[in-house]
Amino acid sequence: MPAVDQHPWPQAAAAVRDWLAGPATSGDLAAARAQMGFSLAWHIVVACLGVGLPLLTLIAEWWGVRTGDPSYRLLARRWARAMGVLFAVGAVSGTILSFEMGLLWPGLMGRYGQVIGVPFAIEGIAFFIEAIFLGIYLYAWDRLPPRVHMLTALPIIIAGVASAFFVVCANAWMNQPRGFTVRHGRVVDVDPLAAMFNPASPPQTVHMILAALMVASFLTASVYAVSLLRGRNDRYHRAGFFIPFVLGAVVSPVQLVVGDWIARFVADFQPVKLAAMEGVFTTSSHVPLTVGGIAGDHGLKGGLEIPNGLSLLVGFSPSTVVEGLNQVPPAQRPPITGTHLAFDLMVLGGLFLIGLGVWLLLAWWRTRRRGESDPLARRGTRLFLWLASFSGPAAVVSLECGWVVTEEGRQPWVVQGVLSVRDAVNPAPGLMTGLWLVLVVYAAMTVATVYVLRRLAGERPVPVAPQEADVTGYPVV
């Protein structure tokens, strides 16, 4: 490591460096990937809540103002308080990610930061707007007329969706790099718009935004499903369950269609990733769809095979040729077992959520037909609520698995076909130390977030300005 320093500190410096870490090793690459993966996996859940929760809160507030029903207004205030906490941790965990882009992957940012800078710049503006109006929405509850106050939620929702869109555009670029040329080792002819609106952007952004709505909806719904199971069957808890659950149930089947779209896209544009997702080792026609299974030497072992399934899914015909991993040398193949199982788990979670939605639809339809009023009064409700209480965790598992598929399926590339993770990582020593530090801090933050959110859920009366514990003049209940 070339030390460029003209000052008389070399001995102390060496001592500190040895204490922190030895020279950079391949373990440091693993540590960098683990740290990035961990902090992204953490942020993505909070970010999804940041996209979906404002919408749910606005629906509850609007319904409360319209009907004058205090249950809805109480819900809106509770969710707004949770939103305040989640937005704060989302803001800081997002900042950490922007740091980590440089701290861990300077090889990527130093060359290509300019190419994907524009979507990040727009995302920054959107995030700014989100933060400003969140400040207004959370704190001006008692300073603005109800209608104006509700209007201040709209910029939060729009900016939240926009943030998700532009950030995922940048990720899509890593899958389908466009808008630049490498000439004599230099990045030239940069076209930021072509980079941002690359072919992977449409399917990936739609898939992600719908996923965010699903995660926020089902996570919120499962909290109230547990309350309903515990016998708190009142208007407040029923509204807390139905508003998010119905939103999630409406989005889930759409997500199935979008999921099909993105899988077809991957088959066309990133065949090696699809091969890893589905465990296809050799290019051929009549490829079966294998559910589960672990990668062996020549194929998946122990999975359930549906003959011709994958060929049918990709090209609607058993004779469709599906490209296999043998298209690229072994060093350029992504890890198969992990990618494949993550993909199956994501689909499984999605189907489970769709099934729950169908269940509620059937129950509602039957109660309507018999002239009853309450779909939750039917037989089987307890089983439904019990399953629904797992809808949030299932949505999160699907989310994380989907993200693992996107990222693991692209390995060993950080930018598909252009830059490998090995060439992108920070060559400085001691990344392992950073990983441990970050793990400890995130563990503490997770514990504190869950603890605080649980406390918020039980607190009465709910203060009028959700973030001001000292404003108690206008409680709802």
Partner: protein
């Protein structure tokens, strides 16, 4: 020309971060030294009230600067982040602890929780600007050469200029916060609170002045190139900053809160620009200039367009945010709703 504009816009963001988020950091420092939980309650309440609605928006300036840097000057971003990754990791952890703990404290009602989260918030409010200051010191004193992790991971930030940068950042934040809080206290906090923050503002202002004077000697010995820039091209800005700083203290003693606020902010802003002017056109020592470090014109133009459109949306929104919480809340609106 395009590159210079992008740099200027980025520097504007850096100035905003120093002026707004800096004051939030400083408020955390005053939270830390406010005394026991009973004695410090009024001060902590004022601090919480003042920065609660705005700190997230203020914090975004940092993301703005980071994104501008990597879009406009990717090589500089990579060099700074990879060489200075230790202080930047520590600053990042401080940012996490501060933001999260502040939100957690607002949401908790029990004393022990408020103490725990409060201590976390306040300590990290000191740690974060210190490490960000060491980063500034490392870059300004020319210890970050171009290239990936090409500088020393240790001495690039463990050096006199970085230490000066860290201390100056903490003291300046404290001064800004105290001056801003005087006005907030005068609006709704009572005379004791006003006097407390007036005293703090004066003390921290004098401390900032003292650190700056010592800093002259440190930079002369440790960062001759920066010293030369500050005492030649950027000299008018440095002198003006000193003058406004002193004027701010006089205004503070006369209890002219609004003017004192302006003067303190101006003094800090001038120092930020003085650093930029002293170093221009060099971004990284020895020879990476703005023009050579810049991304292609297509990117710079796109970034500037994004910023211009963004500014059209952001400036009125920010104005509304600050205006809304700079006047006392009446609660009348919600009251009207509840009695319906």
């Amino acid at each position: 020309m395009l590159a210079d504009t992008v740099l200027a816009v980025m520097w504007l963001g850096l100035m905003c971060y120093a002026l707004f988020a800096g004051a939030d950091f400083g408020a955390g420092l005053w939270d830390l030294v406010a005394g026991g939980s009973r004695r410090g309650r009024p001060q902590r309440a004022l601090i919480e009230h003042a920065i609660g609605p705005v700190w997230e928006a203020n914090h975004v300036w940092l993301i703005f600067v980071v994104v501008m840097l990597w879009s406009g000057f990717p090589g500089v971003f990579a060099a700074v982040m990879s060489t200075l990754y230790l202080p930047l990791t520590l600053a990042a952890l401080g940012i996490i602890a501060r933001g999260a703990a502040f939100a957690f404290r607002k949401a908790s009602t029990q004393l022990w929780q408020q103490r725990l989260f409060g201590a976390c918030f306040a300590t990290s409010s000191v740690v974060t600007p210190f490490f960000l200051g060491t980063v500034a010191g490392g870059v300004a004193s020319g210890r970050v050469p171009p290239g990936l992790a090409a500088g020393s991971t240790v001495t690039s930030w463990l050096n006199p200029a970085s230490f000066l940068g860290g201390v100056l950042a903490v003291v300046t934040c404290a001064h800004l916060a105290a001056v801003y809080l005087c006005a907030d206290a005068a609006r709704g906090g009572g005379p004791d609170l006003v006097r407390a923050f007036q005293r703090r503002a004066l003390v921290s202002g004098l401390a900032a002045g003292a650190v700056a004077l010592v800093g002259i000697a440190v930079l002369h010995a440790d960062a001759p190139r920066l010293f030369h820039g500050l005492t030649h091209r950027a000299l008018p800005l440095v002198v003006l900053s000193a003058v406004t700083g002193v004027a701010g203290l006089v205004l503070l003693m006369r209890s002219l809160w609004g003017w004192a606020r302006t003067a303190a902010a101006l003094a800090v802003a001038l120092i930020v620009w003085a650093w930029g002017l002293a170093q221009y056109p060099l971004m990284l020592v020895p020879d990476l200039t703005v023009a050579r470090a810049a991304a292609p014109p297509s990117v710079l133009a796109a970034v500037l367009i994004v910023f211009a459109v963004g500014a059209l949306l952001l400036i009125p929104s920010l104005g509304w945010l600050y205006a809304l919480f700079q006047r006392p809340g009446t609660g009348a609106a919600a009251g009207a709703e509840d009695t319906r």
